[in-house]
Amino acid sequence: MDERLKKEWESCVKCGLCRSVCPVFKELRQEPFVARGHISLLSEFIKGNFDFDSEKSKDYLYKCLLCTTCVEACPNDSGTDTIVEIARRRIVELHGLPLYKKVMAKILLNRNLMDLSALSANLLSVFLFNKNTNTSRQSNSLKIKLPFVDKDRLLPPLAPKTFYHKYESYGKNAKISIFPGCLINYTYVKIGDAFINILHKLNISYLIEKRASCCGAPIYFSGNFDDAKILAKRNIDLFYNQDIDYLVVLEPTCASMMKFDYPKLFMYFDDEEYIKKATEFAEKIIDPVKYLYDNTDIKDRLKDTGLTVTYHDPCHLKRTQKVKNEPRDLIKHAAKFKEMKEADRCCGNGGTFSIDYRDLSLKIASRKIDNILNSKAQVLVTGCSACIMQLSEALHIAGHDEIKTLHTLELIDKSLGG
């Protein structure tokens, strides 16, 4: 393991400050569910004084959202997300992965298999889902019990045509390439549609690289480093020599994974060549809203939509990529903006966290509802489809279907005339 990684936990002074910010700790209130606890376990493991053989290891280490709220607040920059991921890798070595995560890894490793699964799920959707009458939710509840997924869970419908099937590279001398991320490719294609519409209106050429693989985040976050490494290498090899200024990654979690976790993943494996490549590759990765804000005259083109809007900061946009003011500034040009309290408080989705610990996940989400309502906004805008999925469900449960959720790109697209 690269020495540079060790500072992530050796920097901890056990002050306990993380106890004041962690959204999971706020609910469970015991040391094993907070960064300081996780850090202590990992550093004792590295020293050889402890191993994750207890069954409880899974409960303690998987009940972390990887939201990085503690990392942002830590005065010593201890990297609890990385620490938890490394601990999970050891847990996978000792205890194996749950079946659904094994299947998920198999599917995510293979784009054709992914397409096939999506296609079959789409064809079967008539039998699987109750048609939700509320179209603003754009999500369906399940008709039958599926393994791993609660029956009453609202799920976004799979799109009939994926982003990759729908779009081709466009224009001459394209300097950006678009990486939609699986969630936008298969389900929230409409967010991808919005970005494509915006680019056309601004007359910007783009590449769509259909050989791209899943970024590997769900696999890496589960502690399955070996499969994550395969995907990371594939993506780096694919994009590394392309003559582009930016790889625009539509999903903040994918962007965060590729920009910040790829280098750490290769540090874990002491792979010097790929540490270097991943670090260089990271420079090109950008969030679409930040891309538009920094590189185009989008701000001057926005027209008031007449909507009253509040904004939720996705963890992997605000905390890891430090994109906070750009979306707000654009929203202010497109709508009446109302800042909510604790806008950057994690929504509680956390990827597979919301599958494994649904009740806890929704409890964390519900803490946001009052702040959203108090903002008196009609529309909740955010920059991440996982947050949209989570918060629209939490709003639905709280009986507030009247508040719509939109991606920042969708609002921008509307503001440019739809």
């Binding site: 050796e10 920097s11 002074v13 056990k14 002050c15 306990g16 400050l17 993380c18 106890r19 004041s20 209130r29 015991q30 040391e31 094993p32 606890g37 202590s40 376990l41 004792e44 402890f50 994750f52 207890s54 409880k56 290891s57 303690y60 005065p75 010593n76 920059d77």
Partner: protein
């Protein structure tokens, strides 16, 4: 098995796997001592049963809140039971007629403040760890904080306690009465007793109305002795700020490195001064303070928004945790001297630092003479570590010579117990032992702390 009784009593709130014991083995001293088991009681009755069991079987019991202490008070240095108060975190009552809050020990200081704010009230003790330290811990260590200069420390705000004694009996000391002279003042004996005399299970806290307004100033000095003189001058002019904090050059550099808060890195010291009261009072105090600071050669910045105020305070509160950026080892002291002696004491620490060739970072509560003297060393450099301890020894000596105390707010625990006798004398230590024996004849409650 040894702990079957506790297992039956508490179910899944009894923990004995290594993975659990390890996470209740440390505190902010960064030292580790493994307990034999961890218990998470939910009420006084459970605490009583746990302690009674421990007493009958002569097993050490160490109470812990958030484990954010700096003197090792929460460490199970002899193993035994780690009694975590994490789940006893209810605010039982906010009595608006008498301005008293009744809380369980696991309540986090800041969480109480948040609950009190809508009523226009607050609990004045505000240790820098207020967002992640518990009321129980604050009481057990008799914590202070920046506001101590005006409002005093925890002991000044505790009216009564419910305590579980070593034999498991439950007693109530003190009461909701502001005046109460019936019997010994045991409340004050438990405050600051560091878990050695009993387990606090409930506390009656005095509350204070929030001031009409407040204003924060930051004064930058290019000469440390002038900063210290300013502190004396402010007090001499009969202004009692609600906080009067100082940060030395090295601490400024460290925080700036961590926060990038645009601090004056060329300065010798910063004073952070907060005044509160009516608009009129604030205006008058601020004018006077600005004048005093300017006369002493300082540049003064007045915070005009909550954001500016928060950024000034964030810098101050971040010092302690960020010191690791300088060196991985630190002797984290919190000496206190009469406030007229501050300049002299700081000068002494600088001479001591030179003499032993170690780095000493000073910051703290200048208004009440409480200085956080952090002697930094590299843990891999055994010679430097030795010199750091020698320097600390001399710092204590100089502090006592000036009529000071070796601990203003962190407590003695294990980190300072070898120096306690030097300050209080052998007869007093003997008396401590007699008191301890009266409360806890089997020495099961946080044994081997404070020389007990």
């Amino acid at each position: 098995m040894k702990f079957d009784y506790l297992k039956d009593l508490l179910g899944n709130r009894f923990l004995e796997e290594k993975i659990d014991r390890l996470q209740y083995a440390y505190d902010a001293t960064q030292k580790m001592y493994m307990p034999d088991c961890v218990v998470l009681p939910k009420n006084t009755e459970e605490v009583s049963k746990i302690v009674k069991f421990a007493n009958e079987n002569k097993i050490p019991v160490v109470a812990r809140g958030c484990a954010s202490g700096f003197s090792g008070g929460a460490l199970n240095i002899d193993g035994g039971i780690a009694l975590s108060m994490e789940l006893m975190n209810n605010i039982i009552e906010i009595d608006l007629d008498n301005l008293i809050a009744t809380v369980e020990p696991g309540v986090v200081n800041y969480d109480l403040q948040v609950k009190l704010k809508p009523f226009g009230l607050f609990f004045p003790p505000d240790p820098s760890s207020w967002k992640f330290s518990s009321i129980g811990g604050n009481i057990a260590e008799n914590a202070g904080g920046p506001k101590a200069v005006k409002y005093g420390v925890v002991k000044d705000w505790v009216l009564g306690l419910e305590v579980v004694l070593a034999d498991g009996s439950i007693i109530n000391v003190g009461s909701k009465n502001v005046k109460d002279v019936a019997g010994y003042n045991l409340t004050q004996l438990f405050v600051g007793s560091e878990g050695t005399l009993g387990i606090i299970t409930k506390a009656l806290l005095k509350l204070h109305p929030i001031a009409q307004g407040s204003q924060t100033l930051q004064a930058t000095f290019y000469d440390m002795s002038l900063a210290a003189k300013t502190v004396s001058d402010i007090i001499k002019n009969k202004i009692i700020p609600s906080s009067l904090e100082f940060v030395d050059h090295q601490a400024i550099l460290t925080v700036e490195d961590a926060l990038k808060a645009n601090l004056p890195t060329d300065a010798d010291a910063i004073l952070i001064i907060e005044v509160e009261g009516s608009k009129f009072q604030i205006k008058e105090d601020v004018e006077k303070i600005v004048q005093i600071c300017t006369e002493n050669g300082a540049k003064v910045k007045i915070a005009h928004s909550i954001e500016e105020e928060e950024s000034i305070w964030l810098a101050r509160r971040s010092i302690s945790p960020t010191l690791k950026r300088i060196a991985d080892g630190k002797l984290n002291e919190d000496i206190v001297v009469p406030r007229s002696k501050i300049a002299e004491m700081i000068k002494k620490t600088q001479e001591i630092a030179k003499k032993y060739n170690v780095l000493i970072v000073n910051f703290g509560h200048a208004g009440d003479g409480n200085i956080h003297t952090n002697i930094m060393y590299n843990t891999k450099d055994k010679d430097e570590e030795k010199r750091a301890y020698q320097a600390m020894d001399e710092v204590f000596d100089e502090c006592l010579k000036l009529g000071g105390s070796i601990s203003g707010e962190h407590g003695i625990g294990i980190t300072k117990q070898d120096y306690l006798e030097r300050q209080v004398g052998s007869r007093t230590i003997q008396l401590y032992k007699q008191i301890k024996y009266a409360f806890d004849p089997n020495n099961i409650l946080n044994p081997h702390k404070m020389k007990l």
